[in-house]
């Protein structure tokens, strides 16, 4: 099956008084790996379940390829889903688990019945199914597990069975609901690689829900970052990291969390914090309180920077993270990342002055949206 595009238009959904999704528009390209990422409760799982057809939207449409499927039963959308719990049928062997979607589609109702079905089903179809199952199992290297029951498998193996069950029938798209969250850290890193490899090999459309920004950043072609039932930003991992559209995105993406500095935009558009002006200028109409976001790797010691007190310094192999508190406001903490080899030019009492690469700073207005800034020619006072 050709990879299919997916389109959501004006999707709204409420559970009682709880507005879970507020008018979502999203176009997913054929063959794309798209992540829906956000905090728990942001509506990402509900959105995925609406795509799958397990929930019905209050308003809006879902299309797969060019076919409108909003009211189509999940069984007829030709989508495969990998559940967080894997949802393997515990009473069936791995082989039967993987065969289920094919049996449902290729065998008639009577041929699926227990006992008598065996006599009715055509031998050719059954052979085809068996071949497809073994191919799928080979792809995921679980050929040797086919006759076991899910209870006899490890977490990672169950994960593979769930994937095999999904890919055996070449669906229009794969839906994955936090599929790695039940694995331990090491296995998770490994399965991330495998999933991206699988995506490359199949060239299929993947829609991947996760709360883990690292998963989203490392695996996706594009990320839709969701917050409070809306899509906050849609873009490549790089775009989200380099040009976060809002404070929410900036906070969510990146480790360690972006440093946020309360600043003031003056009437002239000049930006200052604690009386110190930076070499940045915003539009004059943005005047008022704002937030400046600076990534940890963009901070560096500078003679004319903000005065901070070093609280602690942690070295992780090649990198060092230095946590500091602003001298003017102890509650503002910043983390600087530097090479472990670099030295800290610390003054007496652990005092330090920090500057930053101004062209790489992100300014967010009082409403949390990104504001444009430009470098300001420095004029001697």
């Amino acid at each position: 099956m050709q990879p299919q595009s997916l389109e959501l238009q004006g999707i709204e959904k409420s559970f009682g008084a709880d507005n879970v999704l507020k008018s979502i528009d999203l176009a997913i390209r054929p063959g794309e790996f798209l992540s829906l990422v956000g905090m728990s409760g942001c509506g990402k799982s509900t959105l995925l379940r609406i795509i799958a057809g397990l929930e019905t939207p209050d308003r809006g449409t879902v299309s797969i390829g060019n076919r409108q499927v909003t009211d189509v039963d999940p069984s007829e959308r030709n989508l495969a889903m990998v559940f967080q719990s894997y949802a393997l049928y515990p009473h069936m062997t791995v082989r039967e688990n993987i065969a289920t979607p094919l049996r449902m589609r290729r065998l008639s109702f009577t041929a699926r019945l227990p006992l008598i079905g065996r006599m009715i089903a055509s031998a050719d179809t059954l052979r085809d199914i068996a071949t497809s199952v073994e191919e799928a199992a080979e792809t995921l290297q679980i050929g040797h597990l086919l006759d076991r029951k899910p209870a006899q498998l490890s977490g990672g193996q169950r994960q593979r069975v769930a994937l095999a069950r999904a890919l055996v029938r070449q669906p229009a798209a794969f839906l994955m609901d936090e599929p790695l969250s039940n694995l331990d850290a090491k296995l998770r890193a490994h399965m991330r690689e495998e999933l991206t490899g699988l995506h490359r090999r199949l060239g299929a459309t993947f829609i991947y829900v996760t709360h883990d920004q690292i998963e989203a950043m490392t695996m996706s072609d594009r990320i839709a970052l969701m917050s409070e039932g809306g899509i906050e930003q849609l873009g490549t991992p790089d775009e989200l990291y380099q040009r976060p559209a809002s404070l929410t995105v900036a906070r969510f993406i990146g480790t360690p969390t972006i440093n946020l500095l309360p600043v003031e935009i003056g009437m002239s558009g000049r930006i200052s914090a604690f009386g110190q002006e930076f070499g940045l200028e915003a539009a004059a109409q943005a005047a008022g309180p704002a937030t400046l976001g600076i990534r940890a790797e963009d901070l560096r010691p500078a003679a004319d920077g903000l005065a901070v007190r070093v609280l602690r310094s942690e070295t992780y192999g090649a990198d060092r993270f230095v946590t500091c508190a602003l001298v003017q406001d102890q509650s503002v903490r910043v983390v600087m990342r530097q090479h472990a080899g670099e030295s800290l030019p610390s003054e007496a009492d652990g005092l330090l002055r920090l500057g930053f690469a101004e062209q790489r700073a992100h300014l967010f207005g009082a409403d949390g949206r990104r504001c444009d800034v430009s470098a300001r020619a420095r004029v001697a006072a």
Partner: protein
């Protein structure tokens, strides 16, 4: 207290060399705590079973002055005793009616009740009420309901233009009628067990089945619900059959064994307590016990491999 005394004195002596004082203290406490139950276990289970076995090979009659060993005569007699064989047949017939209907109807009701959100409590009460009610009293009510001329059931049958049915005087219908009451009584109990089984099925599995192409509810039932309910179903069948073999109250109220409607337990009651044929009744009791134990073993085996996980 003799048994407790013996164990208290004897056991620590054997292990004194190996155990610390704390262990010995714990062992003493353990025996002290378990002693009342151990004595009762001896007095009300172990000794009676032994006595029962002894009775079964004698011609003992309560109140008789002499008692003779008769070997397996009682058992041999049982298998040529038309009344006993009839009671066995009646009980099997009763069980054969109650088990399939009591289980399948309960499953059907449970499947319907499970999906109800707001009205679930109401349906639960409606179907479970007979389980809590005193069967003797309710059997009396049924007797009235099924009365050939005074009962509303026959009135309804007549209103539809059929002949009234002599539920409680036609010998052929006696056991089926009692089985009907048995189903009425056991349905809610089984329904609740099935509801518990249904609750234990993860929602994900149903959703996975839908995405796998099971559009038809029957397909989803066969793919997920029925296999996942397997252990519950087996268990329900076993408990239903054990309780079917213990049917007593309905017979005691409705027929008192008249018209050849004795059941196993009622026959036991008559032989042992009405006619005081203690030795013979003990042999019958052992046969009854064997039937129940065979059914319970099925239950035990299933407990061991309870779930698929």
């Amino acid at each position: 207290m003799t048994m407790a005394d013996v164990t208290l004195v004897k056991q620590p002596a054997k292990v004194r060399a190996k155990r610390s004082p704390a262990d010995r203290r714990m062992a003493r406490l353990g025996l002290f705590f378990a002693a009342p139950s151990a004595i009762l276990l001896l007095a009300f289970y172990i000794i009676p079973i032994v006595v029962l076995c002894v009775f079964s090979v004698t011609d003992y009659q309560l109140g008789a002055l002499s008692i003779h060993f008769v070997g397996f005569d009682n058992f041999i007699k049982a298998f040529s005793d038309t009344v006993f064989l009839r009671s066995l047949r009646n009980t099997v017939l009763y069980a054969v009616i109650v088990i399939p209907f009591g289980v399948l109807l309960a499953l059907g009701v449970a499947l319907l009740v499970y999906k109800r959100k707001k009205s679930r409590a109401f349906w639960e009460i409606a179907y479970f009420l007979p389980v809590t009610a005193t069967l003797v009293a309710m059997a009396t009510v049924w007797q009235f309901l099924l009365h050939p001329s005074l009962g509303p059931v026959n009135a309804a049958i007549k209103a539809f233009g059929f002949e009234p049915v002599a539920f409680l005087s036609n010998p052929v219908l006696l056991i089926p009628t009692m089985a009907l009451i048995g189903i009425w009584q056991v349905l809610g109990f089984n329904m609740v067990l099935f509801l518990a089984g249904l609750t234990a099925i993860p929602r994900d599995l149903h959703e996975a089945a839908r995405l796998d192409g099971a559009k038809n509810p029957i397909d989803r039932f066969l793919t997920v619900t029925w296999p996942m309910l397997g252990p519950t179903t087996l268990f329900v069948v076993v408990t239903t059959s054990i309780s079917a073999f213990k049917v007593f109250e309905t017979v005691a109220v409705l027929t008192k064994g008249r018209f050849g409607s004795e059941t196993l337990l009622f026959e036991l009651y008559l032989e042992g307590f009405e006619y005081s044929n203690t030795g013979y009744a003990a042999a019958l009791t052992l046969l009854f016990l064997v039937i129940v134990l065979i059914l319970s073993i099925g239950q035990m085996v299933h407990m061991d491999r309870k779930v698929h996980y």
